[in-house]
């Protein structure tokens, strides 16, 4: 890893991502200057991206271990549906403010615990049962989504007290609340990954599981913690989505799964594990949002957006892949020679 930090900063995937983010921003500003640069657009973008950006963070931490979490959207919908059911069962729109805040707090708490439990389940499946992460999270994702469908019968849950809208739609000191949540989470995750021993263990395991095992890292515990963090981040994303949509449903944000993987990979996270920086992910999120809003203003259909996202993913993969192959070779060599 040290090699990478010392190597030319111009060659790092984060630097490339910064260039992409800036060029997309400039391009969109040039194509529709009045509308793209309007304060209204900037603010609406700040409200839009945190929900999938948080899911991308959840994907990132799992990808750093060389795994993937296909259950993020399932967890966020499941937890949001449970929170929504708590709110509709026990609270009502015409409740006093204090009581509804109390119930909202309770619902958020329940959602976070549930997210942690879902993540813990994934962790057990991957760490102790030895299921490949793709399969474990594919299966558990279906189960979580399925629970959400079974709880709601497939329809949306609505009718919340007004405070629920605060999380997704209000501003604090002029800054949109979802953006604040995202900044706090991204910064927290950055610290967790770069300044704690837990973060170092994740990177070591992702770079070379066998070496991590011989370095006496408690791999099972580490993996479970990673999936719990991912599950809780997904739950937070679910709460933001619920607040913004003012309802909860089993199939909200189904396109976010691809988007979360796309953003993590665009941000320079190595899908084989072992390398990735939060700053890269944040830059990737910004590029995607600029692209998405810009295309929206240019009246490009949603389907074309999907096409552009897919192409971007493949192109960035091709550019980054040369680096990954180099890194992987470097990581494997010491074992073979010993």
């Amino acid at each position: 890893m040290k090699n990478h930090n010392n190597s030319n900063i111009l060659e790092s995937p984060e630097f490339r991502m910064a260039i992409i983010a800036i060029s997309v921003f400039v391009l969109m500003s040039l194509l529709s200057p009045e509308r793209f640069l309007s304060s209204q657009n900037i603010i609406s973008m700040a409200f839009q991206f945190p929900e999938f950006a948080i899911l991308a963070l959840a994907m990132t931490i799992v990808m750093l271990t060389g795994g993937i979490d296909l259950s993020v959207v399932g967890i966020s919908n499941f937890t949001a549906v449970v929170a929504a059911i708590i709110l509709t069962q026990f609270a009502s729109p015409d409740m006093s403010l204090q009581a509804s805040i109390l119930w909202y707090g309770g619902a958020i708490f329940a959602a976070l615990i549930l997210g942690a439990v879902c993540g813990y389940t994934n962790g057990i499946l991957v760490a102790y049962l030895g299921l490949p992460p793709i399969l474990a999270t594919l299966g558990s994702g279906l189960v979580f989504t399925g629970f959400a469908v079974a709880l709601t019968g497939g329809s949306a849950v609505m009718g919340f007290p007004e405070v629920v809208a605060w999380l997704g739609n209000e501003r604090l000191l002029g800054i949109p609340v979802p953006l604040i949540i995202f900044i706090v989470l991204a910064f927290g995750l950055h610290i967790l990954l770069s300044r704690t021993s837990f973060g170092l263990k994740i990177t070591m395991y992702g770079a070379n599981p066998l070496a991590a095992f011989f370095a006496a890292i408690d791999i099972n515990r580490m993996l479970i913690k990673v999936y719990v963090v991912s599950g809780m981040l997904s739950a937070i994303a679910g709460l933001v989505i619920m607040s913004r949509a003012n309802s909860a449903k089993a199939d909200y944000g189904s396109s976010y799964l691809l988007l979360a993987i796309l953003i993590a990979v665009l941000g320079g996270v190595n899908p084989y594990g072992g390398y990735g920086k939060i700053i890269g992910v944040v830059l990737a999120v910004l590029s995607m949002q600029f692209l998405s809003s810009g295309l929206n203003m240019l009246q490009v259909s949603n389907f074309a957006r999907e096409l552009i996202w897919g192409s971007l993913l493949i192109i960035v993969m091709i550019i980054n892949s040369t680096n990954w192959i180099k890194q992987k070779k470097n990581a494997i060599k010491p074992i073979k020679s010993s």
């Binding site: 079974a150 993987i261 259909s301 957006r305 999907e306 096409l307 493949i314």
Partner: protein, 333 residues
């Protein structure tokens, strides 16, 4: 007694899935005697044609150590564009030419996956996630997003061709279309490739270990390229059959099936790390998923629990062997 069965018969996924299917059918028959009939059988067989062909394709990819999630997008792309081609240049086009066009389009799209995976050496899951949205986005943006219900007459004709049809004594109608023969043909061809050709050995070998396969002189890239083209062809075939049988070319259909199909294949015992997978297992997996999708209600589970049931089946069906393998590895270490 045990000698009657091949070694490891009782711990194999195929056995587990078969037992679950039989158990399901017994419970279903007890709760509703009408379940056990030719009509149910023909319904289930008909429902498993498209999924069966797709599952065979996915199985091949899994055996080679990769994964493909773009096959549904290929199928719908091939189906929709070949229907459009037929309608615009020769509406009376015989069905086999339409099928050939669809298969060729599928092969071309599969080749794109093949180039990215074999040529650039990119991770299969991420490439196919990308191409899934590229194919679908391209289809809906540039080719069309309208449902076409006025299909070329020959396609409708194809869906009416029956191997067997009739009415049971109790007055229930049953039918088995010729499309089912396509599934049989695909199974036979894939069985032949996997078991009787060097290409098939090469597919298993690269699934076991890329590096070892390369060192014994297998052309890994060419084999991978073939796999994704073949998957594209099967997807094209499945797509056009789906369109003909549904009597509608719907560009929004099929995409979203990928996880169910992968679930069926994985349930059948194919391993995601590659090198292992059987056609028998895959077909049993398809049968189970089709049963769960169509008949869950018969055994008293509401259909809203369908996705939970499939998820639990995947976790149990793949968790047990994975856990056994892990314990075996721990013992030997």
């Amino acid at each position: 007694m045990k000698n009657w069965f091949p070694k490891g018969f009782f711990s194999r996924n195929e056995t587990l899935v078969a037992v679950v299917i039989i158990g399901f059918c017994i419970i279903a028959t007890i709760s509703d005697p009408l379940f056990f009939s030719v009509t149910t059988l023909s319904d289930l067989l008909r429902a498993s044609i498209v999924m069966g062909i797709l599952a065979v394709a996915v199985m091949l990819v899994l055996v080679s150590g990769g994964i493909d999630v773009s096959f549904t997008a290929i199928a719908v792309f091939a189906m929709y564009s070949s229907t459009l081609i037929a309608l615009s240049i020769w509406p009376e086009m015989p069905w086999y030419i339409i099928f050939a066009i669809s298969i060729s389009i599928g092969a071309a799209l599969g080749a794109i996956n093949g180039i990215l995976i074999a040529g650039f050496g990119l991770p299969t899951l991420i490439v196919t996630l990308g191409t899934l949205s590229i194919f679908r986005g391209f289809l809906l943006t540039f080719i069309g997003s309208e449902r076409i219900s006025a299909l070329p007459p020959e396609m409708r004709e194809f869906s009416r061709m029956m191997i067997a049809r009739g009415t049971t004594e109790s007055g229930n109608f049953y039918s088995l279309p010729w499309a089912f023969a396509a599934l049989i043909l695909v199974i036979a061809l894939t069985w032949f490739i996997l078991q009787k050709t060097m290409l098939g050995r090469a597919i298993f070998a690269i699934g076991g270990s890329h590096e070892s396969a390369r060192r014994i002189g297998i052309n890994v890239k060419a084999t991978q390229f073939f796999i994704y083209v073949y998957v594209g062809m099967l997807a094209g075939l499945a797509g056009i059959i789906f369109g003909s049988m549904g009597r509608m070319a719907d560009p929004f259909s099929l995409v979203g099936w990928e996880l169910s199909v992968i679930a069926a294949v994985v349930l059948g015992g194919a391993r995601l790390i590659g090198g292992y997978g059987t056609l028998t297992g895959t077909l049993l997996g398809v049968a189970l998923i089709v049963l769960v999708q169509n008949s869950l209600i018969v055994i008293g589970i509401p259909s809203t629990w369908q996705s939970v049931t499939i998820g639990v089946l995947i976790l149990v069906g793949t968790g047990l062997p994975a856990y056994q393998a892990k314990r075996a590895a721990a013992k030997s270490a």
